[in-house]
Amino acid sequence: MKKIIQTDGRHRKLEGWPLVFTLITTASILVGGLVEFIPLVLVKSNVPVISTVTPFSPLELTGRDIYIREGCNNCHSQMVRPFRDEIERYGEYSKPGETIYERPFLWGSKRTGPDLARVGGKYPDLWHVRHMQDPRSTSPNSLMPPYAWLLEHELDLSKVSTKLARLQLLGTPYSDADVTAAEQSARAQAAAIAERVAADGGPQGIENKEIVALVAYLQRLGRDLKAASAP
């Protein structure tokens, strides 16, 4: 050690060789990342498979991209930690196998608002519509910005088929039929949600508005794991 770091030591020589210096630096910074990442990809048991976890429907996927666009993940996590208080507050803690189709992952790093990993099915569809329109109408004192434009913007499904195709390429198990029928499937799911919202006394004709996709996505969150625990 002393031979290396003394004033005229070996390190002094190294300081005269930028190329060697850069190569050693590169090697030093590669090690940590590789050691942590390679076993994760190679050892399957690191992410145990949950059989009830399935890919998002085309409408849910569209809603998820709206969630990303609006930056919801800046204030809402989707990751219940295995603590008694979190399980009590939100529900079952999150498992590695739950998010295998999530590109990107949306676990979040801040809870300005509550965690959403188990929000699916917690409220009726209409609650979410009202909440986006005016968060204070469902949650007094909320700090959340209103997202009323989601009820006005037309739902764009022109790329949903391409989205499924790209995800299929990355390994998400969509069938070719899923890809072809993506838009049709999204329209059908949107119509069903719009009908429920209208029947509950909410706004009419939201089946071709962005809100319907976001509601579909939010109602999906945590559902797969619940299906697993059902008898």
């Binding site: 739950e98 801040k110 809870r111 700090l143």
Partner: protein, 488 residues
């Protein structure tokens, strides 16, 4: 200008001399850009700080919190801190290698390319065009532009090292090398994605893998964009400003290598108790705690450089800024390992404590080191005196008070909310089952944070005013400084 050094050089020996000029114009450009983006990035910060306690400040889709928050983080990290480190690197590398930058054209491509990337970020993020990955929100065409500009920067930098007239590389250059290599690796590794359209893509990683890659990137963006280049900056500009040699050469070797090796491992501490394998989280935690020592190696080497020169702080706003900067570096690199310990993290994670921690680093270390750098460079680059030393000192105090208010408010908010989330009553039920109760409790702290952040911004505006007045008093003609060295 150039005749006098030539004359002295030739009179000392009969050896022929070679004259070359440093490119200081590029440094001036980066300095001006640093100040401009500081104002923009921090203004957006103040706006989103207002939006948190006052939702009415969310004005429509383009100016809502969810879209502006990434704009704030990108602007302060990549625009403000980015331009500051480029200014420092271009100024000090030329002097440490006794060479002009390898290519003037590459320097300009780097400068204008980087500014164009920032502008495209400022246009796309409010439009909701985002990958949704923290600190890597920019979509794939901009990511490719970043990679290309970074390559130009790297070629220009290593080209300069190749042309150097000084045999040994000073410690600042080691840190610059680590910065350039690692940022390239992190950016490319984390941004790999498959495009759906021109402005939308999906990452090639999913779920747990994406989380680990993201925080390998996210944590090391802090390490190699906000730490190593600023340490390099410290190693060059602090001894210059203090007129003292660096405290310990050996310490700089030991802490450089341990820092670059250990930092990379620490990423998973951002994912403690989440759905990642236990071993990965524990590994991240252990290396984070180990990281405390090399980090403090840097702090000690910085602060001890001032031994016997502490009295200079009285008159030098540059040294005042540097000392606060290095002290906050020490505090946040102690706090970081502490927060990465699982039991502490269980309380702090997802709360404003993290925001407080980040801002101790960003406002304290990155901000004050950049301000010190700017106040040191201004009179030298524009060949005049700082317009007002008093105004600079006022900036120092306003900035310090603002930062302390900010950080204290966030610590209070974070610990309060963390404790409320986990509180149980005597019957074993959640003491605050309604999430809203825990929010209402900390809203006053959001207002205090707004005051602190605003003060900090006011300080920056004072600096910009001082800078404009200084530049106005500069001579019209600013030729690149000439240097004479013995011809090889």
């Amino acid at each position: 200008m150039e005749s006098s050094p030539t004359a002295t050089a030739t009179s000392r020996s009969a050896q022929p001399v070679e004259i070359f000029r440093y490119d200081d114009q590029i440094v001036r450009m980066f300095v001006v850009a640093t100040a401009l983006w500081a104002a923009v990035g921090m203004l957006v910060g103040v706006i989103i700080a207002l939006q948190m306690p006052f939702w009415q400040a969310n004005l429509g889709p383009y100016l809502s919190f969810g879209r502006l928050r990434p704009l704030h983080t990108n602007a302060v990290i990549f625009a403000f801190a980015g331009n500051a480190i480029f200014a420092a690197i271009y100024y000090s590398t030329q002097r440490l290698t006794k060479a002009r930058m390898f290519s003037d054209l590459m320097s300009r491509i780097h400068f204008w390319g980087w500014q164009a990337i920032i502008v495209s970020a400022a246009l796309t993020l409010p439009a909701g065009i985002t990958t949704g990955k923290e600190y890597a929100e920019l979509e794939w065409p901009i990511d490719i532009a970043i990679a290309l500009v970074w390559i130009v920067f790297a070629v220009n930098f290593f080209g300069t090292l190749r042309m150097r007239r000084e045999k040994h590389m000073y410690v600042a250059l080691w840190f610059y090398i680590a910065t350039i290599v690692t940022v390239a690796m992190l950016h490319v590794g984390n941004s790999l994605a498959i495009p759906v359209s021109f402005l939308k893509s999906y990452p090639i990683y999913a779920g747990v893998q994406d989380a680990l890659v993201q925080w390998w990137y996210g944590h090391n963006a802090v390490a190699f964009f906000l730490t190593t280049p600023f340490l390099g900056l410290m190693y060059y500009f602090l001894p210059k400003a203090a007129e003292r040699p660096v405290f310990s050469y050996r310490l700089s070797i030991v802490h450089f290598w341990s820092l670059v090796f250990i930092y990379i491992w620490a990423g998973p501490h951002h994912l403690n108790y989440t759905a990642i394998p236990e071993w990965a989280a524990s590994l991240g935690m252990v290396f984070s705690v180990m990281l405390w020592m090399p980090s403090w190696g840097g702090m000690i080497n910085g602060l001890f450089t001032l031994r016997g020169a502490w009295h200079k702080l009285r008159d030098s706003v540059v040294l005042k800024m540097f000392v606060i900067g290095i002290t906050f570096y020490g505090m946040s690199t102690f706090e970081g390992p502490m927060l990465s310990v699982k039991t502490v993290n269980a309380l702090s994670h997802y709360t404003d404590w993290t925001i407080g921690h980040v801002h101790a680093g960003a406002l304290g270390w990155n901000g004050f080191m950049s301000f010190g750098l700017i106040y040191w460079l201004l009179p030298r680059l524009w060949r005049t005196k700082i317009w007002s030393d008093r105004l600079a000192t006022t900036h120092f105090w306003i900035g310090t008070i603002g930062m302390l208010l900010y950080v204290m408010a966030m610590y209070t908010a974070g610990v309060t909310q963390g404790l409320m989330w986990r509180a149980f009553d005597e019957t074993g039920r959640l003491a605050y089952p309604d999430f809203m109760e825990t929010v209402i409790q900390i809203v006053p702290m959001y207002w205090v944070r707004l005051v602190g952040g605003t003060l900090y911004l006011v300080g920056v505006l004072l600096m910009i005013y001082n800078m404009i007045m200084t530049i106005r008093s500069a001579p019209k003609d600013l030729p690149d400084p000439a240097v004479a060295v013995p011809a090889a």
